[in-house]
Every structure is written in C-alpha cells, then in structure tokens.
C-alpha cells in the first residue's frame, strides 16, 4: 500500500504544479506582462499552500476521508480553473479578483494534501523515511509537470483540456485512495459517487471543449452572440443588441446594421450611377448589402457575385433579420451567385461587365494582399467593357494613409485613372474607396431614389481630402513585394497601440 501512496504523491504533485502553470500561462496570455503574471500567481499559490499546510493541523480525525474530500475538491476547482478563468475574462470585468481567488483556493487545497498524506503514512514508516519519501516524490512530480506542460500538454491538449485532464487524475487518485482504504473509511459510497460525478463533468468538458470555447468566446463580443459558424474559410459571428446587428469575420467587424447604409451607398453609387451599367460584378460582398444597392438601378440585367465562402450568401439569404437588412437581394432573379476564389475566377473566364465592385476583406495577410495587387487589377481590367469602371474598398485614409494611397497608386499602375474618395462610417471611422476609370470620372447628376445617405449634390466633398488625409509617397503593391500588407500591418498596429 505504501508504494501506491507514494505514486499518489507523484501524481498529485504533478497536478498541483499544472494548475499553477495553467493559471500563470492564462494570466500571461490574457493580460500580457508574463513576468508580473507568473510572479504574482506563483507567489499567491505558494502562500496559499502555506495556509493549507497550516490549516491541516485542524483536521484531526478521519484523515483518509478528509484527504479524499480534498482530492475531489481539487479535481473540481483545479480541473475547471482554466474554464472559469477564460469565461471570467470574456464575461466579467473582475478577471483579476477571480484569478487570485481561484489560485488561493487551489493552492490551499494542494497545501493540505501533503501534510495529510504524511500523517496517513506516519504509522507505516519511520518519520525520517516518511519525510524523505514524500518530499522526494513531491518534487519529482513538480519536475514531471514542468516538463510535460510546455512539451505535451499545451500543444496537444490546450490549456482548457490540460487542466481538465489533471482534474481527472485528481479524481482517480481519490477513487484509488478509497479503494486502498476500503476497510478504514465508513460510508465510502457517497464519497465515491461524488468523485465519479466530478470526473464525469470533467470528461464531458474535455469532449465538449470546443463548444465551451464558443460559449466563452461569446463573452468577448460586447453584444449577444446570435449566430456562429466556423466554415473552412473563416469564423462567422453575428451579434445583436437592440436593433444593432453586427457581423464579425475572424473577429473583425464587417458591418453594423445601424450605419452600414453609409458604407454601402458610398461603395456603390458614386461609381455605378456614373456609368450606364447593365452587367455588374461584385467580388466579395457575401452579405448581399452592396448587392441591395446595385439592384436599385432599373437598367441592371445581371449581377454576378463571387464570394469564396458559400456560407455567407446562404446565411444572408435565410436568416430573417439579415434578409430584411439586404432586402432579400439574393432572391432577385438577376443575381448570379458564384462560390470561388476571386483572383482564380478572374483568370478562368472572360465575362464582361460594365461595373465591378471589389468589396474584399482588408489586406491583413499575404493571402488577402494578393487581391490588391497590380496584377489583380490588370486581370479585372480584362473583364471590363471599354467604358467600364470599378471601385475598391480601400481601408481608412485617416488611420492607414499609406495603405489607402497604396491602393490608389496600384490602381493607377494597372492603367486606370483613380478617383479616391472617403466617407465617415461611425462604426469604422473615416473610410476610403478608390474609383477606377479608363477615361476619367464624371460625377453623376442623379442617384437612385430612396437613399438614406447620399445625394448627387453631396458627392463632391467626398472626393476632397483634408490635410490629415492627403496623399503620402508609397510603392505600387505587386505580388513580389506585397508592399500593402507591410503598410497595413504597421499602420493598424500603431493605431491599436
């Protein structure tokens, strides 16, 4: 029995250190400044172990029973510690108090373990051997944990499951102890049941880790999450607060239903109203909102919408509130919907259009940066009729001036006359667009009826850039330099700082 108990020491020591590491790593990830986080977490944890050791003197009877109770409690609190912390970060404003409370509770319980075990073993060894054996395995467990944690646990299980896994180990030690002392502990049944219940909870948590993360994530958004879906291409999250619907793709805000009309009217009408378009191409725009604006022109015969992710048009043609937002634009018979990679699609066919709307995600990585290169605009050029034109959403000329003017310069390099303009969209800030024409841009004298933002008279000032948004010297964005991705990353990093 004694070797079995020493093995238990090894296991619970490993568990103990894992919880401490989980708390420290999580605090570092979430709050930054890992030196501070690890120092304070380790300090609080060790101090709490001291409290636990001191409290052990008040446990005088049924040592084994109390030891098992402590194990079950550690399994529960420690096992779910990372879950609780992550939820606390997303859902509450009191992450730090919860962090240190948890650390103190787990530390105290872990501090109780070893003194209790030593007293259980007291009758089986000489005192010097008890101390030597127990402490040896205790420190050995610490080594095991500190090696396993970075090499195996975090990469293979993740923080959420790693804590749960060691909760299961604590639970198993509890059951094992009960079995070892089956003759010495009365009313074992209820204790065993309790341990099993906790282990079932932990097991369920490990299986449902992804769903737990979804739930925890919903706390990261300010509003209620009403829809989430992970597609092969992106993570779609829809939030709602009163009448404000917001769409996030990979955590990046795409629109707010309160002011998207400003964005989409500005994207579509200054250009589209200036050409007599019958055939229109939309690249991106799977929300159907630019499409809604395009369909306001009676002369339109066909609109081709090319979006990579088929889930977006599906969501925006089935979800009632979203359908109301885009005026059921996907149900219009003039719409041709294509699921394809924009640049690949441009290279594969020879369809011609009078106007194209390039409404793609910002160039935040090299993959997306390809969609803003001179080659992309040259390929697009081959799809435009002689009088054809296109417009590009081009990030913010105020927050990311190099990025914005890089798009302007690249469009010019591809052989177009660029007419940049900008509007204010409250949920984004100052936002920019680049209109590309072959023969120069003539402002339209009429816009469709029923617009909420633009009139023909208010177009002119959009094309004027105040001092803080004036052109800056930039390079052309080409596939072999991806200059835009570098500008974009620098500028938004500076802005977010």
């Amino acid at each position: 029995m004694a070797p079995a108990l020493l093995a238990a020491v090894l296991l619970i020591a490993t568990c103990g250190l894992v919880y401490e590491l989980v708390a420290g790593a999580l605090a570092s990830y979430l709050l930054g400044d890992s030196v501070t986080q690890f120092s304070t977490v380790i300090g609080a944890y060790l101090f709490a172990m001291g409290i636990g050791s001191w409290m052990s003197r008040y446990i005088t009877r049924s040592l084994v029973r109390q030891f098992v109770v402590v194990q079950v409690l550690i399994a529960l609190v420690g096992g779910f510690s990372s879950t609780v912390l992550f939820l606390a970060f997303g859902w509450t404003d009191v992450f730090r108090p919860i962090l240190y409370t948890l650390v103190i509770i787990v530390g105290t319980l872990v501090g109780l373990e070893i003194p209790l075990l030593m007293r259980i073993l007291r009758d089986r060894f000489e005192f010097k051997d008890v101390v030597a054996h127990v402490l040896t395995f205790d420190y050995l467990g610490a080594l095991v944990a500190s090696v396993l944690f970075p090499t195996l646990l975090v990469p293979q299980l993740g923080l959420l499951r790693a804590a749960m896994f060691f909760g299961l180990v604590n639970g198993a030690v509890a059951l094992w102890t009960l079995y070892l002392f089956r003759d010495a502990v009365p009313r074992r049944g209820s204790l065993a049941t309790l341990a099993v219940v906790v282990m079932v909870l932990l097991g369920g948590g490990m299986v449902e880790g992804n769903r737990l993360l979804d739930f925890a994530e919903s706390g990261l958004y300010a509003d209620d999450v009403v829809y989430t879906k992970t597609t092969p291409y992106q993570r779609i999250v829809l939030t709602a607060w009163r009448d404000d619907l917001r769409l996030f793709l990979n955590s990046h805000l795409q629109f707010s239903s309160r002011d998207e009309y400003r964005y989409h009217e500005a994207l579509v009408h200054p250009g589209l109203a200036s050409v007599a378009a019958r055939r229109v191409l939309i690249l991106g725009g799977g929300d159907g909102l630019a499409l809604r604006e395009v369909l306001k022109y009676p002369g339109i015969e066909q609109v081709t919408l090319v979006d990579l992710d088929p889930e977006m048009p599906r969501l925006f043609s089935t979800h009632a509130e979203l359908v109301a937002l885009n005026h059921a634009s996907f149900r219009d018979r003039r719409v041709r919907l294509i699921s394809a990679d924009a640049m690949v699609w441009l290279g594969q066919n020879s369809d011609l259009f009078d106007f194209a709307i390039v409404d793609l995600p910002d160039p935040s990585n090299f993959s997306l940066g390809k969609l803003y290169t001179s080659l992309f605009y040259r390929m697009l050029s081959r799809h435009l009729t002689p009088d054809g034109a296109f417009v590009v959403q081009s990030s913010s000329p105020l927050f990311a001036p190099q990025s914005f003017w890089c798009v302007v310069r690249t469009v010019e390099d591809a052989g177009f006359r660029a007419s940049p303009y900008h509007v204010y969209v409250p949920s984004f800030g100052e936002w920019g667009f680049v209109l590309a024409t072959r023969g120069g841009y003539q402002r339209p004298t009429r816009l469709p009826d029923g617009l909420r933002f633009l009139t023909a008279q208010t177009l002119e000032p959009l094309f004027e850039f105040p001092v803080d948004m004036r052109p800056v010297p930039v390079e052309v964005n080409r596939l072999h330099n991806q200059a835009l991705v570098h500008y974009y990353e620098q500028e938004w990093r500076a802005f977010n700082r």
Partner: protein, 508 residues
C-alpha cells in the same frame, strides 16, 4: 465588407488556439516511394553492348545528346536561327534533366532546379529567350513569374525571421563581419570578373582573381579573418545550395561567384510551381518534334565525316554532336577516349511532401523558400507559393538536401543503401524541429536520390586540364552542359547550349 482590426481580438483568437490545443489525430504514416533518378539506366552504360545487333541508322547534320536545359537550349537556338535538321536524344522518359518536375492533384512541383535569378541587362541571349517564352515583356518581367512575397525566411533560435541572412543572434562583431564581407563582395562585383554566364567574366581574369581558384572558400574566409559563426553558416549555406558542398570543398572563386555575379537590387527570382520545369515545358512546346525520349546513348565514336552515335534504339551519324549530357558519362560513352579527371559531383536528395493541411505549430505565414538554421537540409520550397488563390487548403513542399558532409563517393554508397523509410524519416525529423505537427499534415512523401546531382567547382577546377579540353573540344564534338562551367546553373546550361548551337552552325 471590411475592416476594423482590433489586435486585442487577434490575441484572443490566438488564445482560442492555445486553449483548444492541437487536434488529436491518430497517427498513420504517410504514403510514398523512392523515385528512380535514371541512375539504374545510367549504370547500364558500364556493361558492354551485345555484339551483332542491327539497329536502324539515321543521318542528321546535328545531334544533341541530352534533353536537359543545355540540350533544349541548343535546340531552341538552332530553331531560332532557322535550322531544323537536328534531333535531341534524351535518356529519360521525359526531357528536363535537372529541371525535372512532377504533378499531382494539388499542384505541379519541382524535383530539382526551381528558380532562375532575374538576368541582368547584359545577359542578352537569356533575355531574348525569356522574351520568346513570354516571361519578359518589353522591359517588364511577368508578375506571375517573379517570386511572390514573402520570398525567404529562416528559422533560427526558435523563431522565423524574414530573409536568410541571420538577424536573430549575431553580435555587433558578427554584424561588422557581415558588413566587411559585403564590402569585399562589392569590390569583386565591380571588378567585372564575376558574371552570369561565367565565361564572359572569365575570358580575361586578372591574376588576383584567378588565384581564387587555387584556394578553398574556407581557406579564403580564414585568410580574410571571417570567423563569425553566423557569417560562416550563411556562406556555407550558399555553397551547399549552389554546389552541394561545404566551404573547404569548393574554390573561393566559386564561393565568391555566388555572391557577386548578381545585382543586389534585382527583384526576387523567377519561379513557377514546377520550378524550372515550367521553362522546359515552354521549350518542349516549341521543340517537341525534335526530341526523342527513352533513347539511351551508349557509344560516341568519331568517323571520317563526323561522329557515330549508337543508342539502344538506333544509330545516328552526325557532322556535329552537341554533347549536353553530364560530363561524367563521357569516358563510358567514348570507351575511355575522353577522360574527365577532377570532375566531382555532389549527391543530393530531394523530396516532395503532400500536405493535406498547413502546420499550425509554427507561427507566421510561409515564405517561398523556408530554411532551418543549423539543419543538414537546405529547407523547403512551397510549390503553391505562386498561386493567385487566397485559399490554398493543400500544398506540396519540396525538401532539398545536399549530402555535403563527407566525400561524394561515400555519400553515394550510403545513399544506395537507404530505403524510403530511412530517408523519409530523416526528412520528417528535420521538419519536426520546426513544425511539431508536421506528421498530422503530410499524407505523402516521394523521395528522389540523385547520385550525381551537380558539378562541384572544387579547388583548381578552372585551371584543370580536362575542363579546358572539354570547353574547347572542337572536331565536331561540342560541349554544352553546365558541367563545363563548374556551376550547375540554369544560366550556364542555357549559355552552353546557345554557344554550342552557334558553333555547330558555324562549322556546318
């Protein structure tokens, strides 16, 4: 749709990944096989031809032996100059030589040479060739062919950095040496002695530069006091990459040539998913009727009017033979009449790995060329890098490994003993140091062993008698292969082919 990018959220996204951890997946090893490199067929040359066989005989004014880049370039030049009465004999089932390539359901991919540095303005023949195949339009290089950004990255001290010159780790002293090395290279560059193709600069070498052929790159580095381990790693990487050899095993001339023959400010190299195989494809579009594949040339003999070329499928007589096969085959083909002492070849292993998903374990976006510091391999090249798609779910990586340590004969013997299992395990082991979840990504590895992958410009190569004999062979036998230059480069092969074609036409 657009826009706001709070970086705090991306940190949360990162956290999501950390919390969920890597998906646990059952481990089943990848599929794959050893690819035949033609070595087996080449070895048949050692056995004598059975006597009394009759084979069909054909007369051609010009016969090109070898359908790699040198042979095909010679053919391209002949046609360009309006001459069509020639044939290219290729041993393999497909022409291409060191520009060989493959293709699967994911992408075409290279098996060996995979890029060409942008030729400078003085490389007129090469520029004319690239104009012909549509890579150079006016003075503009095709955007599809120029390597997309990000081009190169180096994994060093547990992190990826941009570019291959080590940035993470070097001290001020190391940096001073890099600076001093750059200055030395700039001076060599300005001397005009280091050119692509090399023959132009080599035409009249000043003594101090021809002396570089008599010392090894390691010896020169020692002499110049370049002892920074980071600088030496970087220089040795260049030697392994271009010559498949370590610094002590190549001449200082060759080691310096790598750094001085190209302009600093040229845009990234020209590359294609199948590497230089793309160029071969373009050549074959123009030359296919002239190319006969699976023809094993067994004997080259002079006759009274020129040469007799005996192959396993037939016999050709020619006034001019353009020899565009590797030099090491010559003694076998000529029955020992032409000896080639002092031609060393570096053995290589290349492998193509099919990845069903990208590794998640090492942050950062993959570059075209991905190199691991202090690895025996040369890193991997991403075949889908030149894709214009934004979403590339599957990819192929070409892993390059020059067997530079030890002697070439010993390495060739070692290579012969290896199986697919031992080689693929080593390759995965190297990649695992960087991408811990590589085993979950790779579904297939095909491994190619190249016993004589490339010529080694060892110490004294330039002045070696055999080389000079071959360079100016004459008597209707013209050498086009890049082996003669000592540099296994596309540009040398192309220049050799063009030069031989011009000489053949002049002699006819």
């Amino acid at each position: 749709m657009a826009r706001i990018q709070p970086l705090t959220l991306s940190r949360r996204a990162f956290l999501g990944a950390a919390l969920i951890g890597m998906s646990c997946k059952s481990r089943r090893g990848p599929a794959g096989r050893l690819i035949d490199d033609g070595g087996a067929r080449g070895h048949q040359l050692r056995s004598p031809i059975a006597a009394g066989e009759r084979r069909p005989t054909e007369r051609k004014p010009v016969v090109i032996v070898g359908g790699g880049v040198a042979g095909l370039s010679a053919a391209w030049r002949l046609r360009q100059r309006g001459f069509t009465d020639f044939v290219v004999l290729e041993m393999e089932q497909r022409a291409g030589g060191n520009a060989r390539w493959g293709e699967n359901e994911v992408t075409p991919f290279p098996w060996a040479a995979h890029y060409v540095p942008v030729p400078g303005p003085e490389a007129t023949d090469l520029r004319a060739f690239f104009r012909d195949i549509g890579v150079l339009n006016g003075e503009e290089w095709s955007e599809r062919a120029l390597c997309f950004a990000p081009q190169e990255r180096l994994y060093i001290h547990g992190r990826w950095q941009e570019g291959l010159e080590p940035q993470i780790g070097p001290s001020d002293r190391d940096r001073d040496q890099f600076k001093r090395f750059d200055d030395r290279m700039q001076a060599f560059r300005e001397s005009g002695a280091f050119t692509i193709p090399s023959s132009r600069g080599r035409a009249s070498l000043p003594d101090d530069i021809s002396a570089l052929d008599t010392v090894s790159m390691a010896g020169w580095m020692d002499r110049e006091g370049f002892d920074s381990p980071y600088l030496r790693w970087w220089i040795e990487y260049g030697c392994r990459d271009d010559y498949g050899a370590l610094m002590p095993d190549v001449s200082a001339w060759a080691g310096i040539h790598y750094h001085t023959s190209r302009q600093d400010d040229e845009p990234g190299p020209l590359t294609w998913p199948e590497g230089n195989g793309w160029i071969v494809r373009k050549l074959l579009e123009r030359l296919a009727p002239h190319v006969e594949t699976s023809v094993m040339v067994e004997r080259l003999e002079p006759n009274d009017r020129g040469w007799t070329i005996t192959a396993d499928t037939g016999v050709w007589t020619a006034e001019q033979v353009i020899y565009a096969a590797p030099a090491f085959l010559l003694p076998h083909l000529t029955g020992g009449a032409i000896a080639i002492d002092g031609f060393d070849y570096s053995p290589w292993v290349t492998a193509n790995l099919v990845l069903d998903r990208w590794p998640r374990s090492s942050a950062g976006e993959p570059a075209w060329d991905n190199v691991i510091f202090d690895s025996p391999g040369l890193g991997y090249v991403v075949a889908t890098h030149q894709s214009i798609a934004t979403d590339v779910p599957r990819t192929v990586w070409t892993y390059y490994w020059a067997l530079a340590h030890g002697t070439p004969p010993a390495n060739r013997a070692w290579l012969q003993q290896q199986t697919w299992e031992t080689l693929s395990a080593r390759i995965l082991g190297d990649l695992r140091r960087v991408h811990r979840d590589i085993d979950d990504c790779v579904s297939r590895i095909d491994v190619l062993r190249l016993g004589h992958a490339m010529i080694r410009p060892s110490v004294g190569f330039l002045s070696r008698a055999a080389r000079q004999r071959m360079a100016g062979a004459g008597k209707g036998l013209l050498f086009a292969h890049s082996d003669v230059s000592g540099l296994s480069l596309f540009e040398e092969a192309h220049a050799g082919g063009v030069r031989a074609a011009d000489a053949a036409l002049a002699a006819l």
